[in-house]
């Protein structure tokens, strides 16, 4: 089966890859581009482990075709830190022990970042509903919610 040549931008870098038309964007990121920080937990858009941002919109990369990436701006967990400087959310997740196994963590960080860019001062309820599509089976969400709220507060202070 012939593949389609795709040019796109991932974390600010221009990249090219060949996509089988059946590949999801998640497949393309992981298998074609080697960006395995984005995870597959379900393949049906129900767990959020594959969360990425495409042209400013938070999406499940398992629900998008790789060929749809043509010409888009894609942000993944690998682009979240600025060199050695972690994003406040990343720091707060470590500080609050907001991860146990860590498998859902990239998706939750990407989703939380999208939230705080849209709403810098979310209530606990708003954080919980925004992240309802990101399953975590280890933590019971408590420390995740606290880490997001704390990061939001720090970012507001810095702004």
């Amino acid at each position: 089966m012939s593949k389609v040549h795709i040019s796109t931008t991932v974390n600010g870098e221009a990249v090219e890859f060949l996509a089988d038309t059946r590949d999801s964007l998640l497949d393309s990121l992981r298998d074609s581009l080697g960006l395995t920080g984005t995870k597959e937990g379900c393949g049906t858009g129900d767990c959020g482990a594959c969360s990425v941002v495409v042209d400013g919109t938070l999406v499940c990369s398992c629900l998008m075709l790789g060929v749809e990436a043509q010409g888009k701006q894609i942000e993944t967990i690998e682009g979240m830190a600025n060199g050695d400087a972690l994003h406040p959310l990343q720091r707060k997740f470590i500080e609050h022990a907001a991860l146990q196994c860590g498998f859902c963590t990239p998706g939750i960080l990407v989703a939380s970042k999208a939230l705080l860019e849209k709403n810098p001062d979310p209530s606990e309820e708003e954080v919980r509903y925004w992240l309802a599509g990101n399953l975590c089976r280890c933590t019971g969400y408590d420390k995740i919610i606290r880490a997001v709220m704390d990061a939001a507060e720090e970012m507001r202070g810095a702004a």
Binding site: R22, L58, L63, E68, A111, A132, G133, N134
Partner: protein
Amino acid sequence: MNYHNPSNFSDAARIARDASGVTRFLAGGTDVLVQMRAGAVTPHDIIDIKNIPGVDAITRTADGGFIIGAAVSGAQMGADADLVAAWPGVVEGMELVGSTQVQGRATLAGNLCNGSPAADSVPGLIAAGATAQIVSADGVRDIAIEDIPAGPGRSNLVKGEVIASITLPARGQGGGDAYLRFTPRTEMDIAVVGCAINLTIDGDVITSARVALGAVAPTVVLVPEAADAIIGTTLDDAAIAALMNVVSAAAKPISDKRGTAEFRKDVVGVLAKRVAKIAYARARGEAV
């Protein structure tokens, strides 16, 4: 699988008409990709309509209605203040489809074409009296939303037809709509029962209404006798009791993994009561 990226709806419809195997239109993709991943459907041709100019825009009709392009996402609808103000029930139905991530992609047209009797956005559209613009190689036609679903997973659209947009009528004075569903979880769930009501009032009296129910029949259903139960009333206790009885009687649900028929018949009445109160309050301009 062939990936097509047409630049207008006529081409999209023609590609679909001429295709020999399984064909899927790709708007949000939130159902198509799930079906592909499950191995349930492997399209021979997939037609991406998202790059058609205007398909991702919400525009206004001359009389103040809304035209919602087939690729407009739930998140876009929620961000459109005019649309939210006019048709809050339609928007809240759409916003219940999937997670924040799914909201970034999922569309009204896709939710409609998926053909689920539990589709959260469909009762609100039907209650609102919305129509869909259908494009085929033969031309363009508008049909009422309630005429599109044919049964679970099936629609009345034929090969070579594609939804280009959804039109919501002008809201007008004294109108209010609302949608509620029941799910075991607070989010990330399929409606066990859903109910949308759109009504208009003159003073305190309901002058017109449309009631649509989800997940209680093979398709989302419009229940005119439920509307009749509240038209001409001030939504007093007797009217609400009548509404609850009518929707319970109109519901012809099945028992499945998500709930029993008995539960659905009970809860559809409860939802109708709650939805009617919200729609009525909205029509009166009260905050809810």
